[in-house]
């Protein structure tokens, strides 16, 4: 029981060292260009994150085997950790200073004493080097390499059948929607009805656009699914009615905005903003 408590405490300490609480005035700075060669399309595989996983596996391997008293494998993982740590330190020259080879070697030496207390103590210094880099760079790396670039997506506008950039297309959807809501607010129901056809056609085109990445139906229909169909039918019914009911109309506009627009924007927009800002900066 004592050993288990010790291991848990050590793991907690290590975790805190590797993933420290982020500062409030965090700066999301674009990762160095040299990292790009370890991610698609420059690399066939995401080699950088694979390298992180390798180090993490060997680091964890030391403690798992110390607990199991499998000292032969403790030694193997300790050596491999130093080897991979050195290799990683050479991959991105701009980040060389994050690495402390001596700390890695000291950790390996401590692990090889097969004393879990000594290994835990030595892991703190090494863990801090990981934590510092993660704190400074992790969000940027995930944003740049693990999130899609919306501004690179091209959409064929179904109304005029011309290809436009994604951002421009979003603006078209937004103005189509205003065509419906503004006319409805003015009591111009026929105009609102015509505008609804355009708005719906543009909105539904997003199903095709999203399907380029979201290939499973559950995800694909999350933003433009049943709720969107219900909302559009509700809007059409109101606009075709003798006397449209504003309550029903605005309820359906709200449903569309909340389940479609807002949900998607909450998930994707922040990262899209950051990436776009970086690329704008590059163009200057």
């Amino acid at each position: 029981m004592k050993t288990l408590k010790l291991i848990l405490s050590l793991m907690m300490l290590t975790f805190l060292a590797v993933f420290p609480v982020q500062a409030k005035d965090m700066i999301v700075k674009e990762p160095p260009k040299s990292l790009s060669k370890f991610y698609p399309p420059e690399s066939k595989e995401p080699k950088w994150i694979q390298q992180m996983h390798k180090m993490s596996a060997h680091f964890g391997g030391v403690f798992v085997n110390l607990k199991e008293k499998d000292f032969e494998n403790v030694d193997k993982h300790a050596d491999k950790l130093v080897e991979e740590y050195k290799k990683t330190s050479e991959m991105v020259p701009e980040w060389e200073e994050y690495f402390d080879i001596k700390a890695a070697e000291e950790f390996a030496a401590a692990a090889k004493t097969h004393d879990i207390g000594k290994a835990g103590k030595a892991s703190g210094k090494l863990g801090k080097t990981c934590g510092k880099c993660h704190g400074d760079q992790e969000i940027s790396v995930w944003t740049k390499f693990h999130w899609p670039s919306f501004h690179k997506i091209k959409v064929t506008d179904p109304i005029d059948e011309k290809e436009v950039e994604f951002g421009k297309y979003m603006k078209s959807i937004s103005s189509s929607m205003k065509g419906v809501t503004v006319n409805f607010g003015e009591g111009q129901y026929d105009r609102a009805g015509k505008a609804l056809k355009v708005f719906k056609t543009r909105y539904m085109e997003l199903k095709s656009t999203c399907s380029k990445c979201h290939t499973t139906d559950d995800v694909k229909l999350f933003y433009v699914g049943k709720d969107a169909d219900t909302a559009f039918s509700g809007l059409a019914n109101e606009l075709n009615a003798e006397k449209p009911n504003p309550g029903n109309f605005w309820k359906n506009v709200g449903l569309l905005g909340k389940t479609g627009c807002k949900n998607c924007h909450l998930v994707h927009r922040t990262y899209s903003f950051i990436k776009e800002a970086w690329e704008e900066e590059d163009k200057k």
Binding site: P40, P41, K152, T156, P158, I159, E163, D190, G193, K194, K197, T201, M204, E205, K207, S208, S211, K212, C213, T215, N240
Partner: protein, 325 residues
């Protein structure tokens, strides 16, 4: 010069022997494949062909099939511009299994590492468990072929065309994918001189993997034009899967409707995008109805259907009808 009678007899004897040997061989190869011992089958094998050869190597014997495949979309699955763009320069992992399959066998394949530029090629579909597979048992150098009934079954195509396969299953129609997209004609499997004399003509599937043509007989249109409404319906009567259909591609039917007043001026228009990715495809045997409210006085409507395959932005005209009030 006079040929001695003994030499004539010898030549006739050899001739008879050669002909009877050829007849016997032809009979065994084509009719009694099961008589051939496994060891003999192995003797006919060129071990190099176990190294997953390139399609060009297969064309040395199967020239006609190779030429048909080269005309197919399967041969372009890795090099197609549309695929490269849609997969962000081939970096989307989920696309790889079906664009460069290692071995197709009725379930989702795994991607391969070699000969990627050949796309879905001979070896992807015919080399299974270290043996050449096909619809017939065949014994011919440089490789014996093992009969695999899956080549006539839709499930084989469903390895990758999963969604289309499920749509077809739901229709309960007996015609398989191969019946329509690989129509069989009698011909030779090989064009190489010598080998072509050893094999009888068989039903050979079209390896262009034909993309069926959509006509007015396939998609039935009905319409009604009244003072306030125009109602149109489309019925996919003959094609036993959604039209258009695709797992991840984006083929479309564009339905254009133009409304004209008595003077012949266009007063309004509408458009429908019929596409699997928008879940608006035309299901088999189910009428899809489209309603349009008319805001102006309309005396004629013009309806036009166009098709845009997944791999191009070009549209082809299917049909056009005019509806009078």
């Amino acid at each position: 010069m006079k040929i001695p009678p003994r030499l004539t007899n010898l030549l006739i004897g050899f001739g008879c022997l050669a002909i009877s040997s050829w007849v016997m061989l032809y009979f065994i190869i084509n009719e009694k494949f099961e008589w051939i011992p496994k060891e003999v089958l192995e003797l006919a094998r060129d071990p190099e062909l176990l190294e997953r050869p390139e399609a060009k190597r297969c064309s040395e014997c199967h020239e006609a099939i190779y030429e048909a495949w080269k005309d197919s979309r399967h041969s372009l699955s890795w090099t197609s511009k549309t695929y490269i763009e849609a997969s962000e320069n081939r970096t989307k992992e989920k696309c790889l299994a079906c664009h460069i399959p290692q071995s197709v066998r009725g379930e989702k394949p795994t991607p391969r590492l070699d000969r990627r530029e050949e796309g879905i090629y001979c070896v992807s579909c015919h080399f299974i468990d270290n043996k050449m597979n096909g619809p017939y048992d065949l014994m011919a150098p440089p490789h014996p072929t093992v009969r695999n009934p899956d080549y006539g079954r839709s499930k084989f195509c469903g390895s990758c065309h999963e969604k289309t396969f499920k749509q077809w299953q739901a229709t309960k129609v007996e015609d398989t994918c191969q019946d329509c997209h690989m129509p069989r004609t009698k011909g030779r499997l090989t064009q190489k001189f010598g080998l072509n004399l050893l094999h009888k003509k068989r039903m050979v599937g079209d390896h262009r993997f034909l993309h069926g043509e959509i006509t007015e007989k396939d998609i039935i249109v009905e319409s009604e034009l009244t003072e306030k409404m125009f109602t149109l319906s489309l019925l996919n009567k003959t094609i036993p899967h959604g039209v258009p259909t695709a797992d991840n591609g984006d083929p479309r039917l564009y339905l254009y409707i133009k409304f004209f007043n008595e003077a012949g001026d266009e007063v309004d228009n509408a458009k429908e995008i019929i596409a699997p990715q928008q879940e608006t495809e035309l299901p088999y045997g189910k009428k899809m109805v489209y309603n349009y409210r008319l805001f102006d006085k309309v005396s004629r409507a013009e309806v036009e259907l166009k098709y845009q395959p997944a791999w191009t932005k070009e549209k082809t005209d299917l049909w056009k009808v005019s509806v009078l009030r």
